[in-house]
Symmetry: C2
Subunit: 187 residues, 2 copies
């Protein structure tokens, strides 16, 4: 073991799931690509996304709702584009075919295998980012993305992000059952 | 498109990066397996982990510090074990060879490709979980996990989690450059 120290700015998780955060800003549906997100509460479910100062934030703060859409690899180029251009300068409302559930300001992307509409639960202000916490109101998918009534990551076919090298990665092979394989080490 | 609605409790990201959260509780190093975590602030870097009511929480709250360790696939069984047994009942201090950096209560795992010691920045109480926010003090790795002075996910070889099906997955193939491939769509 020859441990070395690297700059704290390079502290990332490996890899990060990519999502498209949907909002309505100034009457237009808008989408932003985000790699800094997580489920953060069990009951009720609460999801978190950490955003820098973006156009998207205006929509979340005005409407108190937003969406999380999980793109598959076929949407990688469009997702990346949504991370490159600001909704303040470019109309992103026509990139995807969208639909709405019960929340009229949480645009959902038809082509995304999983779409989650969220009601804003809280906004935690951090030095550079705001951590938006959202409580899912509705979760949409299609039968073809499920196996045994559960979402199946190989059918969803999402992609992940690494930073600071800035690369996208597919999901690899199944390695075993979580909360199970460690039983072999129980005395 | 035949969208269906599924239970909100099934709102997850696909896939989630696995980390081992290290603490010292009642004088003993302790590790917990967590899939609900993310980077949440750019400058300074801040990491978030969402924990239910666990033994680990006592250590974080008493010491105001903790560690995040990224296990590789060879540590999958041990990591899973750390998620199955509570430090309140089982001594987990001998599972891994550990070391410490500047923070004496943030145990780091020698066998993990990336180890991050964190000072507690804030603890956000949510209905079932507490979202612990930590500011990295030191990030440890080894030269063999880097390419061009950046961490290389294929050399780290971490694994990811899906819920509620509870499976572990490797990282797949490189799909392209983030914040770059979408340029093709710019007018």
């Amino acid at each position: 073991m020859d441990k070395i120290k690297i700059d704290n700015i390079a502290a990332f998780l490996y890899p990060m799931p990519m999502v498209l955060v949907g909002t309505v800003v100034e009457g237009k549906a808008n989408f932003m690509a985000v790699g800094w997100s997580a489920r953060v509460n069990y009951q009720p479910p609460i999801m978190a996304v950490a955003l820098g100062p973006h156009h998207t934030n205006k929509g979340i703060e005005a409407n108190k709702e937003f969406s999380l859409n999980i793109p598959d690899v076929s949407l990688m180029e469009k997702t990346d584009y949504c991370g490159l251009v600001s909704g303040g300068k470019t109309d992103k409302s026509k990139i995807f075919d969208i639909f709405y559930g019960q929340l009229g300001r949480a645009p959902l992307i038809k082509a995304c295998p999983v779409c989650i509409s969220c009601v804003l639960y809280d906004a935690v202000k951090l030095p550079s980012n705001t951590l938006y916490l959202g409580e899912p109101r509705e979760v949409f998918t299609e039968e073809r993305f499920m196996t045994d009534n559960k979402l199946d990551v190989k059918k969803i076919n999402p992609f992940t992000l690494t930073m600071p090298d800035n690369n996208y990665w597919s999901v690899g092979e199944n390695l075993g059952r979580a909360w199970n394989i460690g039983k072999a080490l129980k005395k």
